[in-house]
Each structure stands twice: as C-alpha cells, then as structure tokens.
C-alpha cells in the first residue's frame, strides 16, 4: 500500500489533530460488576476494558510470597480488535506487553501490604487503533483505584510518535504504521518518575528529549482526566 500523506503543510494530522493534541478521551470507572474494580477507557477508536481482582488467595498456594502480594497482569486483544483477525490465544506481542504493563503497575502498588495474596489485572483491548498498551495501563490504574488497592500514585500513559519528521502526541494506528518511531511512555506524575518506557523506531538524542517532554505534557492532562473520572464515580455513589 502506498504511504498516505499523514501531516499537512500547516501541521494538521490525518485525523484533524494538531501535533500536540490528544485524541478524544473517554473514561468510565466501575463498568464491570463481578470484578473488584474496573474501568473502560477510549483514546479515539482505541477501546479498552480493565478489571482487577484481589487482593485474594493465591492458587496454587505454593506460589504465594510471604512478604508481599503477587501482581499478575494479562494484556489481551479480542480477535476482531485489529484489521486482520488476530488468532485466538496469546501472541508473543501480548506476552511482552503483559510484562511491561505489570512491571509498571508493580512500581506503584503497595504490594507489601498484602502478603500471601495475589492481585490480578486483566486488560482487554476490544479495538486497537494505536496506543493500546498506554490506554490499557491508564485503564488498569483506574481499575486498581476503583478496587481500593493502595498505590503510591496513579499511572497515566501515552505514546509519542515521529511521523514525517514531526513529533506527535498520542499516535493512532496509521501514524504508528507509517511513522518513524513509536515511544510509549507511562509516568507516575506525583513521583516524577517513569514507570514504562519503550522505543520502537529511531530518534536522535534531541528528538528523544523533546518526545519525552511532549509525553509528559500529555500525561499530565490524562492524569487530570483520571482524577475526574474517579471523582465522578465516587461522588455519584455518595449522591446515590
């Protein structure tokens, strides 16, 4: 397929956004009944559910740790979430992303408060249009908060891309596919720390610095939306 023109001369992206503009974001907390905490997050057409179970007993028992909780995470996509049907079962990509998402969450959950238990997090991507790991992590963080799991901070995440030489915030699928780099970043803003960082592509040192700054700006907006989404849920509970 011919590579389409992705950024116009006056800096407008293929979906009408400015270079540093997030997609329309929707966040809803407590959307699934049977889990201890859950959230639904949309970044444009990227749509993700996350649910949390726990702290709960570990099965089988011998896997339990005496001094802290185990945190498990499964990032998974439905078969129809992508252009070409994804085969059933976990792909290598899903296994890797489950690991990096889990490690990001392990960085902020107070696991030592729940020894001998497990906290299980399921991220289900029902549509993938770029930035699924960052959207998933944003949703998982909300679900943990909804489950009342104590955390040192919330995690907000976004991917920065390099497209036709420009750094762009919150890459969508077509930008990722034809772009020069994809830099997913997750931060714990209050802790001034990075909890997930990957680069798939090529960036100069200066581009990398600028991209990190751009990610940070986006993340602080997303973090604000997360707080509002939680407030909405819990104020409506109090009212109800």
């Amino acid at each position: 397929m011919e590579k389409p023109k992705l950024i116009s001369e006056d800096g407008v992206r293929v979906d009408g956004r400015r270079l540093d503009e997030l997609r329309p974001i929707k966040m809803e907390v407590g959307v699934l009944d049977k889990s201890d905490g859950s959230a639904y997050v949309e970044f444009g057409k990227t749509k993700v559910f996350a649910a949390v179970f726990g702290p709960r007993e570990v099965h089988p028992k011998h896997l339990a740790l005496p001094e802290r909780a185990i945190l498990n995470c499964r990032y998974h996509m439905t078969s129809f979430s992508v252009e070409d049907r994804k085969p059933l079962g976990m792909t290598r990509r899903e296994v890797e992303l489950s690991k990096v998402i889990r490690e990001a969450l392990e960085s902020i959950v107070f696991l030592e408060e729940f020894p001998r238990t497990s906290i299980d997090i399921y991220v289900e991507v029902i549509q993938a249009d770029g930035g699924t790991r960052t959207t998933g992590l944003t949703a998982a963080s909300l679900a943990l908060a909804d489950a009342g799991i104590p955390m040192a901070d919330m995690i907000a995440a976004v991917a920065v891309g390099k497209v036709e030489g420009h750094l762009v915030l919150d890459v969508c699928d077509i930008e990722d596919k034809y772009g020069e780099a994809d830099l997913p970043v997750a931060m714990a803003p209050r802790l001034n720390s990075i909890v997930l960082l990957q680069l798939n592509g090529r960036l100069s040192r200066e581009e990398f610095q600028k991209a990190m700054a751009l990610a940070r700006e986006g993340i602080s907006k997303i973090y604000q939306m997360q707080r509002e989404a939680l407030k909405r849920k819990y104020s409506s509970v109090e009212e109800g």
């Binding site: 009944d33 049977k34 439905t78 129809f80 049907r85």
Partner: protein, 276 residues
C-alpha cells in the same frame, strides 16, 4: 419426584429460600419466575470488526464481533460459505474463569450458539459463495463474556444474531486475472431466520427462566432451548448435572416457546433487524 444429587448445606439453604420465593411467584431480584432480565443491545461498537454487538442481560455482558475472510469451501459443500463460532470466558468477567484456551464451558457455549445459528437456518450459506468449489466467505463469530452474572447462553446468541444482522461484509470480486480481490464495497448478510434461546432452570417441580448467578449455583438442573420464528425447536442442550422429570417436558416446551418469542421481538426491535 425423582431424587436429585445431594447438595452441601449452604447450597440447600439458598435453594430452599429461592424455592419458597418461587412458590410465591417471586425471585431474589424481584423478577417473576418467567421474567427475563432487562436486555440492552448495542451494535457497531467495534468499527474494525465487520459486525459487532455488545449485549447486556441484567449483569451479564457479552461482546460479539464478526470478521469475514476468504477461504476454500468444504469439499462436500462446494457452493457454500462457512462460519465458525468461538467463545472465550474472559477472566475479567468472573472469579470462576481462568486465562488460557477455552475450557469445556467455553467450548459448550460456542457449540450451542453454533448449532442454534446453523440449525435455526440464520444464514443462507450459498450466498457466501464467491467461486463455487474455490473461494467462499468464512465468517468468524467470536464471543467474549465480559461480565458474568449467570446465563451466558441467551445473551451470546442475541449478540451473535445482532452482530450478524448489522454486519457489513467487505465484498470480494473476481478480477480480470481470475484472482479474488477485496473491493471498497460492503454488503449486508440477509438473515433467513432469527433463532433465540432461553435458559430454563428447575428446582423441584418449579421452573424459572434466565437464572442469575445466585440461582444458577443452586438449581437442580437446567437446559437451554432454542426456537426459530416458524415454531420449530432448533436446539436443546441440557447443560448441567441433574434430573429432568419427564413429566415436566411439556411445561418446559411451552415456556421455551413463549420466552424465545419474547426475546426475538426484543432483538428485532433493539437491533433494527428486518424480519426474514
């Protein structure tokens, strides 16, 4: 009345409670014994699928997506396309679901939905032929249980039918070189029947429909019955251990016809499905 397998004490206590409510025509969540939970059907949520539907039936939520591919027909049915149903009981839906390949429950769900669609005659498979004996459409109907509060059978079939009825399948055409190529055009599947199922639970001699999870856990036995709009039974699955007294079969059939017809009407209205 036939013996039923003995239950543990906590199960017996809950069963007694539900049974006494049923005797008064009531249920735990305020429904009548023959009342299904509120049904909500949303189609088209997943734009990258060729068809999709999110169905909730009370607290049970099902997402179904359809993807069409082009493949070769079965040798014994050269003029027919085909479809495949898969079901995943996602671990985010319930503490009783595990990650990993479908266990017997997921497989049973997929196969009951498959038989209901197939024997219900929902699809005219000959319309899914591109070149007889060579190229046909294959539909992948994938069911994901997102939230499980009892009875995933009936909403899964509702979601599958809604997704099929509203699907827009990319049209493939035979090019000048004889090769099959994807076009920009899309077409609708015109359903030739609208099968629905109802799950019926039994405690002693009393029946209830669409059991919610607390009920499901203490039923003596249950079964799923599917019908089409022409008055045929198109699928049955006794889906739990336990004895069905032969004498109850007529009442079961009666109830099944009534409730599947009701669900069919809801489905047609909510999803805007043209009557076949």
């Amino acid at each position: 009345m036939p013996m039923q397998p003995k239950k543990s004490l906590t199960v017996r206590i809950m069963q007694d409670k539900i049974y006494r409510l049923l005797q008064q025509g009531k249920r735990l969540d305020g429904r009548r014994p023959d009342e299904v939970r509120p049904v909500r059907i949303e189609t088209g949520l997943v734009e990258k699928a060729d068809g999709s539907a999110l169905v909730s039936m009370g607290g049970t939520k099902i997402l179904v997506g359809i993807k069409a591919e082009v493949g070769t027909p079965y040798p014994d049915r050269p003029k027919e396309g085909s479809f495949t149903v898969n079901a995943e009981l996602l671990p985010l839906a319930s503490t009783t679901f595990e990650p990993g390949p479908p266990d017997e429950r997921g497989i049973e769900l997929a196969r009951v939905v498959d038989r209901s669609l197939r024997e219900g005659g929902a699809l005219d498979l000959e319309k899914l032929c591109i070149i007889p004996g060579e190229k046909v459409y294959i539909l992948f109907i994938d069911i994901y249980v997102l939230d499980y509060d009892g009875n995933y059978y009936d909403p899964s079939l509702l979601a599958a039918v809604a997704a099929l009825a509203t699907a827009k399948i990319p049209r493939y055409e035979v090019g000048e070189d004889g090769k099959v190529e994807k076009t920009e055009e899309r077409f609708s599947l015109q359903l030739t029947a609208i099968p629905t199922t109802i799950t019926i639970g039994i405690i002693k001699e009393l029946l209830l429909v669409d059991p919610q999870i607390e009920e499901e856990n203490v039923l003596d036995v249950s079964l799923v019955v599917g019908t089409d709009e022409k008055g045929n039974i198109v699928s049955i699955q006794k889906n739990s251990p336990g004895l069905i007294p032969i004498g109850l079969m007529d009442r079961i059939t009666e109830l099944a016809y009534e409730k599947t017809e009701e669900l069919r009407r809801k489905l047609i209205e909510s999803a805007g499905i043209p009557l076949p």
